[in-house]
């Protein structure tokens, strides 16, 4: 048993211990006990992942654990990348949870015990090496996350609705994945990934295509790809903040993992249309996600929509990789896939950080409405700084983690011109435009989040009373901020790991791995990030020094410009809603916002106004257009089906009996 096996065994043991601690420890020490053990679990995950990324592999078969099928585990470099990310985020979030749960937000025994299980499931999904193992781990992850989303269902009505949406969507997704993988296993006459990989090349194109589409939809729903994103902006905001951080930074990644594993690993790539479909879904998700994020004023909802955007960019990258691969350009494919994987890593870092920051804000102020926040930089300086680092990453500006991966993604798209064909030459410009528009809107979105949420003056009493978070939460945020910064300035450090992960799935030789490594090393050593960031920071510091020399240190405080009408009050500030108004007007046709203005006149006069109230809702239009008819149809079917159930037990037994007979008859007929 090598390091990986030992690490996995260790993490299972730690999960048991952490869950037991969650159930057994008294309330006072529960958060600390669970947090420390879960952090250790995360650390074990990081060890496993890094070992796999450094070139070790592991495979094991435990025939006795699952009846009939047995458990097959296998860890390669691609699994290692996702396990490392999951482990690192679990580590940071567990530390964060000590402070979050220990000071006022106690989730209760059950949720405390489930949290480590959820973490373990996310570590095990990439380690599964057979269809049944994968599905069991996947379902474990889905169920534990659902129960965790419902933690606060007694406190808020919306949690139940969010839970319902999440339950339905995630189970539908699971059913599709189940169909895809079981079909694949049946067609390949074997359910281990190795057997499927060996047989996949000989399957008929129709089977392969159907399996891919089912997998794309199923995994896409987990990754929050439009139009299957509807659960994401509901479930992520309503879950407790550590859980939202894990869901948004790690769980969604596994949708991408599944897509890469099935589409590229098991099926070994496919025809062009598969990948064009993936690219289209990715591009639409990227633009639509960030557009919704740019007009929402709920901080956690904004972050959830931004997750949809980033997952869209990643799926776009994966699709581009598949496209280049199918066109016989393995080098380009390698770079596009490396860009997508790098974005997985950077997104996890900054999104966990942003959700942790949002959780701290929620804990300190009791609201996540940006229109009611503001002025937090004085009361919560560390949280503000950490959130700023995360926002820089999410806005994909130099110095932020997202910049490097989006740059690499754009590079791979721009160089895709080498691929011949009209479709490619029409698709690539559109893809570049989608990435560019989403990058531009992301800047506006995160300027809004940081500027109206943390800067300026408090817009509500809750925001005015805010106080800084406990030390463990700050430590976790600083850890994540450090990781995001390292990724932003020296992504080359991860070059060889990424190259290994890429080489594992694309059917290409070591030449491509070398090319990817060179490209990323160049990126890390001589290309922009370090030069750009160091230069900008250096020049800023020098300028600040010069300014002090010239004008001195003392600065006099003066009132704000008030047009001579008395000091401006906090209510006169621009809110997040007003900040987003121009964008909302520009994209009016896409967003179809509903706003109404209520004017209450003074009783005697039609001209003197007593108060004006303005409401604006930006509904999720795709959801309205697509889901409402489906829901109505389902309800209609349900109403009709009620006639079948009249309450008679004999009738129900008769249904069961007749279906059994029909099944047997069908079997006999088929035989």
């Amino acid at each position: 048993m090598n390091l990986i096996g030992a690490g996995l065994a260790c993490s299972v043991g730690l999960t048991g211990a952490a869950s037991a601690a969650g159930l057994a420890l008294p309330r006072r020490s529960r958060a600390t006990g669970v947090g420390v053990l879960t952090a250790a679990l995360g650390a074990a995950g990081v060890v496993v992942g890094v070992a796999a990324l450094s070139g070790r592999t592991f495979s094991a078969c435990l025939p006795d654990v699952l009846p009939l099928a047995g458990v097959y585990l296998g860890v390669d470099a691609l699994s290692g990348l996702f396990i490392t990310v999951a482990g690192a985020v679990v580590l940071a979030v567990a530390v964060y949870g000590i402070g979050y749960h220990g000071h006022g937000h106690d989730p209760g025994r059950a949720a405390s015990a489930l949290f480590p299980l959820f973490a373990l499931a996310m570590l095990l999904v990439p380690a599964a090496a057979s269809v049944s193992t994968f599905l069991v781990c996947w379902e474990l992850m889905a169920v534990t996350s659902l129960l965790l989303v419902l933690t606060e269902h007694r406190r808020r009505e919306q949690v139940r609705e969010a839970g319902l949406w999440y339950a339905v969507m995630t189970q539908l997704g699971f059913v599709l994945i189940l169909f895809a993988l079981v079909w694949l296993a049946a067609a390949a006459h074997g359910e281990t990934f190795a057997a499927i990989r060996a047989a996949a090349g000989h399957l008929s194109p129709a089977v392969r295509g159907t399996v891919f589409v089912l997998a794309l939809v199923g995994f896409g729903s987990k990754a929050g790809i439009v139009p299957l994103h509807a659960w994401l902006p509901r479930a992520h905001p309503e879950a407790p903040s550590p859980v939202s951080a894990l869901m948004s930074a790690v769980m969604v990644n596994l949708g991408v993992y599944g897509l890469i594993r099935v589409g590229m690993g098991l099926l070994g790539g496919g025809p062009r249309w598969w990948w064009l479909l993936a690219m289209a879904a990715g591009a639409v998700s990227a633009v639509y996600g960030i557009l919704q994020a740019s007009v929402t004023s709920d901080l956690k909802r904004l972050l959830a929509y931004s997750t949809t955007e980033n997952m869209g960019l990643i799926v776009l990258g994966v699709g581009a990789a598949g496209l280049f691969g199918s066109a016989g350009k393995p080098q380009l494919a390698g770079i596009a896939l490396a860009a997508a994987l790098l974005h997985v890593v950077t997104h996890s870092a900054f999104k966990a950080l942003l959700f942790a920051g949002a959780g701290s804000v929620l804990r300190a102020t009791g609201t996540r409405d940006l229109d009611a926040l503001g002025g937090l930089r004085q009361a919560m300086p560390v949280t503000t700084a950490a959130f700023a680092v995360g926002a820089l990453g999410a806005a994909a500006l130099p110095g932020g983690a997202g910049f490097v991966s989006e740059w690499l993604l754009l590079q791979s798209l721009i160089h895709g011109l080498a691929v011949p064909g009209i479709v490619v030459s029409v698709v690539l410009p559109i893809a570049v435009a989608a990435v560019a528009l989403s990058a531009g809107l992301a800047v506006a979105t995160f300027v809004k989040a940081l500027g109206t949420g943390f800067l300026a003056r408090p817009r509500s009493d809750g925001a005015a009373r805010a106080a800084e978070s406990p030390a463990t939460m700050l430590a976790a945020m600083l850890m994540l901020a450090g990781a995001a910064t390292v990724l932003a300035v020296a992504p080359g450090l991860a070059g060889s790991w990424l190259a290994r992960a890429v080489a594992g799935v694309t059917p290409v030789g070591p030449a491509v791995a070398d090319a990817v490594r060179t490209k990323l090393t160049v990126l890390g050593s001589t290309m922009s990030p370090l030069v750009v960031v160091a230069g900008t920071v250096g020049v800023t510091v020098v300028l600040a020094g010069l300014l002090r020399l010239v004008v001195g240190v003392r600065r006099r405080a003066v009132p704000l410009w008030d047009c001579g009408a008395g000091p401006p009050s906090a209510r006169m500030q621009y809110t997040a809603t007003s900040f987003a108004e121009p964008l909302q007007r520009v994209f009016d046709d896409v967003l179809a916002p509903e706003s109404d203005v209520d004017v209450t006149p003074v009783v005697e006069s039609a001209y003197l106004v007593e108060r004006v109230s303005y409401h604006r809702v930006v509904p999720d239009r795709i959801e309205h257009r697509l889901y409402a008819p489906v829901l109505i149809a389902v309800r209609w079917c349900g109403e009709r089906a009620r006639a079948l159930a009249n309450g008679s037990v004999h009738r129900y037994l008769g249904y069961a009996f007749s279906s059994l007979v029909i099944l047997l008859v069908a079997l006999a007929a088929v035989k």
Partner: protein, 325 residues
């Protein structure tokens, strides 16, 4: 991937000297450019004008004042002008204004340059929001909307220009243009030039997108954002705005009028290229100023039309680069 790096892979001492020269040129020349443009405008409107050196005199006056902190503003408000100046200086060092052999090497990437300028804009927008006034927020909101919508055009034009070179590296693009004049007058280049021209106007806050000399609340964009700045801070903001304009004009001329840019770091070549660069940017500025006399500011919600039009031109440039080559 055929990352054809023509120049700039190594950072040489002479290259760094070129970058320093470009930075110095930008700092000294940018206010003069603004002064010259105001002078052109004044003469065309039949006024005498304040002279080319007036922006420098303004800056000197502002630098002598005491620094003020408006109530309730924080570190973001104080550092934003510094960040904007710093990002613009970085860009000035990177773009091959006078020689393709700058000291920044591979960091002189077109996408990185655009992202750096956006970083400066974002910093100033945050400062606008930090003041907690209606004006600051309004300016920030408008500025970010325009920036967000300009981004697709920029990257699309970058796409069109870089496909034939096989790299988004600026020295490589300029070098290719120098070696083969046909590239610069090709349909791709001409379309991209028009597309980027609209973006330059938007990003530099010139007419018809924004009016740098207005202080009317309905029409302000950039000026609303920086309304609370005074004294030395305002001087930095003004300097950064002027440098941004010259850097953007310089970028445009480097991409579409590359002739005369030195391919080495020889002293004579660099000096000649410097003189030519000053002339090019000066002429572009004068043309812009003259054009502005005849132009009215667009309504804010007409700006997306302008940007959509420039995006269309950029798409045409890309289409042409795919199909006409």
């Amino acid at each position: 991937m055929s990352g054809t790096m023509v120049t700039g892979t190594t950072t040489t001492g002479a290259g760094i000297a070129v970058s320093v020269l470009q930075v110095a040129l930008t700092v000294v020349g940018a206010p003069l450019l603004v002064g010259m443009m105001r002078q052109v405008r004044a003469r065309m409107e039949g006024r005498a004008g304040a002279g080319v050196g007036q922006p420098w005199r303004d800056l000197r006056k502002l630098m002598r004042k005491k620094p003020l902190d408006p109530h309730g503003t924080g570190p973001v408000f104080r550092t934003a002008p510094l960040i904007q100046v710093a990002t613009t200086l970085m860009v000035a060092a990177a773009i091959p204004f006078v020689s393709v052999d700058t000291g920044v090497g591979e960091a002189a990437d077109l996408i990185a340059v655009v992202a750096l300028l956006t970083l400066g804009t974002a910093a100033l927008a945050l400062a606008g929001l930090d003041t907690g006034t209606a004006f600051g927020g309004m300016g920030a909101s408008r500025e970010m909307t325009i920036t967000a919508l300009a981004e697709p055009t920029v990257l699309m034009a970058a796409f069109a220009l870089s496909t034939r070179v096989g790299s988004t590296n600026l020295p490589a693009i300029v070098d290719a243009g120098l070696k083969d004049a046909g590239r610069v007058v090709s349909p791709v280049s001409v379309l991209a030039a028009f597309a980027l021209a609209a973006v330059v106007l938007a990003e530099a806050g010139r007419l018809p997108v924004d009016n740098p000399s207005t202080h009317l609340e309905l029409t302000m964009v950039h000026e609303a954002m920086v309304l609370e700045y005074s004294g030395p801070d305002l001087a930095l903001v003004e300097l950064a705005a002027a440098m941004r304009l010259s850097v953007l004009l310089g970028l445009w001329s480097a991409l579409f009028l590359p002739w005369g840019t030195a391919t080495s770091t020889g002293v004579l070549a660099v000096l000649g290229a410097t003189a030519l660069f000053v002339v090019k940017v000066g002429v572009l500025g004068a043309v812009l100023a003259a054009g502005e006399v005849f132009m009215a500011k667009l309504r804010l919600f007409r700006v997306p039309e302008l940007l959509a039009g420039s995006f269309l031109l950029a798409v045409l440039a890309v289409a042409a680069s795919f199909f006409l080559e």
